[in-house]
């Protein structure tokens, strides 16, 4: 079954390429606050000249999946067309009390927690409809979390391509090496989505892995 669906996936990707119209659907996944929307915005700004989503230092800012269709990325003399899917941050726990320290009122915090939980469910459901994933991690944090393991396990089980993005390398405490050591079987690209560092390497990686 897995083999068949993987073959079918490849076949439709190939047909799409021949006719040059099918975009590759790439999900941007990861825990809250790692910089997924910042990265989605940067990719879309670099290649389509606009923003998609709101960025904030309060976790669970993105609570609905957002798709920007047909973003064409040029690499060398070739190109790849992507649908960029920015997803709500994945979590195994959501406590409305955590939002109070950001100055939210109790009712607002409770509403945010409920929407955040719904957002997680939507993110997980989208895993079934993607051609590949950019798994974003915050390079200043411990990479070995259940959320990261679950995303990686699901991509492996579905035999779908994945790139790990080690974000926030502009920060002094960033340690992309930790991420590389934690997931040695995967390609890790260290970037700063905020500053735009190393984006060319990421675009090369996207072209190599998802085309």
């Amino acid at each position: 079954m897995g083999m068949w669906s993987s073959l079918r996936g490849r076949f439709s990707l190939w047909v799409g390429k021949i006719f040059g119209r099918r975009s590759v659907k790439i999900g941007i996944y990861g825990p809250p606050n790692v910089g997924k929307t910042t990265l989605a915005n940067r990719i879309i700004r670099d290649w389509a000249g606009e923003d998609v989503g709101v960025v904030s230092d309060i976790p669970h800012e993105t609570r609905r999946v957002k798709r920007r269709k047909d973003v064409k990325i040029n690499v060398d003399r070739s190109s790849i067309k992507l649908d960029i899917v920015d997803t709500p941050g994945l979590a195994t726990k959501i406590d409305f009390r955590d939002f109070l320290s950001y100055g939210l009122e109790e009712e607002e915090a409770k509403k945010r927690a409920k929407e955040a939980a719904e957002g997680v469910i939507e993110s997980i459901r989208w895993l079934d409809d993607l051609d590949g994933v950019l798994l974003v991690m915050d390079a200043t944090e411990d990479p070995y979390t259940q959320v990261n393991i679950t995303v990686i396990g699901n991509m492996e089980a579905r035999r779908l391509p994945m790139l790990i993005v080690s974000n926030k390398i502009d920060l002094p405490t960033a340690s992309p090496v930790k991420i590389i050591e934690a997931f040695p079987q995967h390609t890790v690209v260290p970037i700063s989505a905020l500053k735009g560092n190393n984006m060319d390497t990421l675009y090369d990686g996207i072209y190599e892995h998802f085309r």
């Binding site: 979590a91 195994t92 726990k93 939980a117 469910i121 997980i124 699901n154 089980a157």
Partner: protein
Amino acid sequence: MAYTNISGEKMVRVDMISEDLLASMTSAEKIRMILDGVIEGKILVLERGLMPEEEAKLIEATMVEISPEFVGIEIESYPAKERRSLMDRLFGRTKSQARLTVIGSPNQLKTIKKDRGLITALISEV
């Protein structure tokens, strides 16, 4: 919710779930058992971890239950590289389930330390 012993002291209940029991359960049963256990205040130790698809379903089911009273779960399991046992290698299996998984409420499982072959759960006072 905490348990008390005969002398009225508060205690944490830890349920060890064997590989055999897990193998006899469907995914839906495992997920229900885990969530109900955590909601009751138990800490669960699974001898064999969940499949990636089950982990995703567990997160989904957890999110359905989120409320001001239930803030979710904490899960810890072994790293992937340590998951490939000798048996896996002999049989040429690349993916196997995690060996040991600890699940509990985030408030109870304050910190879980992972070291080579050892998981130490620091359980907060109840």
